[in-house]
């Protein structure tokens, strides 16, 4: 009988640990970890902040319903599970007993409030929830979301939507919340000296187990060399956007190291396939053969990049590992140009931002050099980013231009949109590919969807609507006293980090 009782208690304890996805609350927490980034959040309002460096901060304060674990798998956070009732209806069950930092209970009201506000057209987050038709509270811990069309990206998109307390938000207003955030996350907001430092304190009552590190400070250090200096002097424990040319400077420093992830930002050179010589597939393939992408990654990015076969990088669902990138073959490029009727090449305009992406100006310069070697005389024009992005949104860039892209959902659909029909941010349209793309992105089962994406890519590869370039690797500098590794989705997450 007694053994029975112990067994039952053990079982309850086991279920208890299963229920909480985090580790058991750590022993005496303490210490301060300082993260230095090149930019700080514009606001701590979870709806407004969509930059990577801002998200690194807000994700510590606000929990989403789902998140990726270190292995990249989607795991429940404030949700405990989901059910797909039919292709356009999702039911989410919510975690019980969770409180916001101000004591307000977390429940379905908060989720509905968050989603409804995110769906407003004025919200920068709108694109994540654009296809949502209605959010309905079934009971205090169940929410039903209906979508206009099947929306396979709902789950990965929800990872970028931090849940806010509805009462606090309505009482205080957005402008106040922008500098006084309250969430359910592993860290509470402490203070913020804008343009300098932002301090978070561990949430001792965190539902996933209290974090081991007591204080996290996010410092803004815009200059890359100054960031490395702060790392080497011990003032920063983690730095982001470690400039490749500075990585060798810490090689002999026993206290710090560089850590690298595969990266989520792709850099490509878009071709306006509707104008001039670029209408011919052979010309576009020739441009792909003409550029030595490996040499660019090696010499300009210090090797911290991956040359891609298409515009879908390895970190995305739907990556096709069987395609090999176009080889560097100037002779073949010249032959293709001659076949297409341009034995002496042609003149064209090449546009590039300067200072937006890692070494963007140098990369564009190098590409222009390679094009010239096969007879294509590209006139290079640089633009300040604000101007450039205005031109991008107005479809005024081209015929050749460099652009970077990323997908918050890490899904090929976001990348393939750049070569789809009828959208303003595409410069290519092929009805045959389009129908496959539409079918793929409406497929809810992730394995099936990935398969469909993989089948599309050989067609894109052959059509070459882009000079496929590379994915930037994420480079971090880390003090060795910290147990932390960067994640493949480039989310900087310190809730599970520890100090040695």
């Amino acid at each position: 009988m007694r053994a029975m009782r112990i067994a039952v208690l053990l079982l309850i304890a086991m279920i208890g640990t299963l229920w909480a996805p985090g580790t058991a609350p750590s022993q005496a927490a303490g210490g301060t970890v300082t993260v230095a980034q090149g930019a700080e959040p514009a606001t701590l309002d979870a709806f407004q902040e969509i930059s990577r460096s801002g998200y690194n901060v807000t994700l510590h304060i606000y929990d989403p319903l789902f998140m990726r674990n270190d292995a990249g798998k989607i795991v429940p956070m404030l949700a405990t599970g989901y059910k797909i009732v039919n292709p356009t209806t999702w039911q989410f069950t919510l975690r019980q007993g969770v409180k916001f930092h101000n004591g307000e209970p977390f429940d379905a009201t908060a989720v509905k409030f968050t989603f409804d506000r995110g769906r407003l057209k004025e919200s920068p987050e709108n694109y994540l929830l654009d296809g949502v038709k209605d959010v309905r509270i079934v009971d205090p811990y169940t929410v039903e979301v209906t979508t206009v069309n099947p929306m396979p990206l709902l789950l990965p998109n929800l990872m970028s939507v931090g849940i806010v307390p509805s009462r606090y938000f309505q009482e205080r207003g957005a402008s106040y919340v922008a500098t006084h955030p309250v969430g359910t996350g592993p860290y509470r907001f402490q203070s913020w000296v804008k343009d300098d430092r932002l301090t978070l304190e561990a949430n001792r009552d965190y539902w996933g187990g209290a974090p081991s590190i007591q204080t996290v400070v996010f410092r803004l250090i815009p200059n890359p060399a100054a960031r490395v200096a702060a790392l080497r002097s011990g003032e920063a424990d983690v730095i982001t956007d470690f400039a490749p040319d500075l990585v060798p400077s810490v090689a002999n420093d026993p206290r710090v190291q560089a850590a690298v992830t595969t990266g989520t930002r792709s850099i490509n050179i878009m071709l306006d396939t509707g104008t001039g010589p670029l209408r011919d597939k052979r010309v576009r393939q020739a441009l792909n053969y003409a550029v030595d992408k490996n040499a660019i990654v090696k010499n300009i990015l210090g090797g911290f990049g991956t040359v891609e076969a298409t515009l879908v990088p390895a970190a995305y669902l739907g990556f096709n590992p069987r395609l090999r990138p176009y080889a560097y073959d100037p002779a073949k490029a010249k032959a293709l140009l001659a076949q297409a009727g341009y034995p002496n090449g042609f003149e064209i305009v090449f546009q590039s931002p300067r200072g937006r992406y890692l070494a963007d100006a140098d990369v564009s310069q190098a590409v222009v050099g390679y094009l010239k070697a096969v007879g294509v005389n590209a006139q290079l024009k640089y633009f300040e980013w604000g101007n450039y992005v205005n031109m991008y949104f107005k479809h005024q860039l081209g015929p050749i231009f460099l652009i970077g892209s990323g997908s918050a959902a890490l899904d090929a659909a976001d990348a393939l949109e750049n070569v789809s029909c009828g959208v303003w941010d595409s410069w290519y349209c092929n009805p045959g590919i389009q129908s496959r793309y539409e079918k793929a992105k409406a497929t809810i089962d992730p394995d099936r969807r990935a398969q469909l994406y993989r089948e599309i890519q050989p067609l894109i590869y052959d059509a070459a609507p882009i000079i496929f370039m590379y994915t930037q690797q994420g480079i971090y500098g880390v003090n060795r006293r910290l147990n932390w590794v960067p994640r493949s989705d480039e989310v900087l997450w310190l809730a599970k980090a520890t100090l040695k």
Partner: protein
């Protein structure tokens, strides 16, 4: 005197209005802030909704009038990016900016004025040559380079000072010195030149001839007369520094006005650009006025009415 000041202040209002028109027009022709706020996946409907939210779909003159009307009530609008009042973003940075500007300028004056005088008194001596060399290097050396070298030496190798950020006195030392070097170079050169001019004047020979001590001759007779161009320079420099020192602020991660303004321009955050420009203009106008008033104090021949 009071009438003069009053007149200058009235003029300042016109200056500010002129500046606000120019700043408004310039910021609005350099592009749409909305597309900088949104991810590439954003839809056209979202862009339109956001432009409407910020009132950017109104004609430009209407936007300007709305801005003026609100500004007259002290409301400079909300930052488009940060969603907090634009003017308070600017005013929040005043202490840090003023701290850095005053420290840098005080260091510069303390070093450059005596050195300039010494150089002029001992013309072509080793002191003079060293001063000129310092001045040349100080003006031609890029601030960001000097700043990074200072960070590496004093922050990383010696660990005497933090590598950046704001906080106590220790945070202030490196940026103030680096920023001060550039200002000092100009002040030194000007002090030296002004002193050289004055030292050749007849009345100084007279002063010496009547047996005054060298200190009295230099400080009371020469320096006071040589100080007018130097004071002008310092006044303008103060106005400039209070408007923000972008490069130094960036290298040392100093939360000052310069970086705020430049970031606002890059982000097309119109309300913040307006607030920062107007504030900087106001400071500059006041610094110039103070400089002019200093003239009258330094040179009794100058009267304002």
């Amino acid at each position: 005197m009071q009438r003069y000041v009053a007149r200058r202040l009235v003029q300042a209002v016109f200056v500010l209005v002129g500046i606000s028109v120019v700043a408004f027009a310039l910021t609005h022709v350099i592009g749409d802030p909305v597309v900088l706020l949104l991810p590439f996946q954003a839809s056209q409907a979202q862009i339109i909704a956001m432009r409407h939210l910020f009132g950017l779909d109104q004609p430009l003159p209407a936007q300007y009038l709305a801005f003026v009307r609100a500004a007259l009530h002290g409301d400079f609008g909300l930052s488009l990016r940060q969603n907090t009042p634009a003017m308070s973003l600017v005013l929040d940075r005043v202490p840090a900016t003023a701290e850095l500007a005053c420290a840098a300028l005080a260091l510069a004056v303390a070093a450059a004025v005596p050195l300039g005088i010494a150089a002029a008194l001992r013309r072509r001596s080793i002191v003079d040559r060293a001063a000129l060399l310092f001045s040349m290097i100080g003006q031609s050396m890029p601030t960001f380079w000097l700043g990074l070298q200072a960070i590496l030496l004093f922050g990383v190798v010696l660990r005497w000072f933090p590598t950046g950020g704001s906080g106590g006195f220790r945070h202030l030392v490196l940026p103030a010195v680096v920023l001060g070097v550039f200002s000092a170079a100009g002040i030194l050169r000007l002090t030296r030149a002004a002193m050289l001019d004055i030292l050749a004047e007849d009345y100084l020979r007279t002063a010496r001839a009547k047996g005054l001590r060298q200190v009295t001759v230099v400080v009371k007779h020469a320096l006071r007369n040589a100080s007018l161009p130097v004071v002008t320079w310092i006044g303008l420099e103060l106005g400039t520094l209070l408007g923000g020192a972008v490069v130094t602020e960036t290298v040392f991660s100093w939360p000052g006005m310069g970086r705020l303004a430049v970031q606002a321009i890059f982000a097309r955050d119109f309300p913040v650009v307006q607030a920062a420009v107007l504030f900087a203009a106001m400071v500059f106008v006041l610094a110039t006025l103070l400089t002019d008033l200093m003239y009258a104090w330094l040179d009794p021949r100058i009267h304002y009415s």
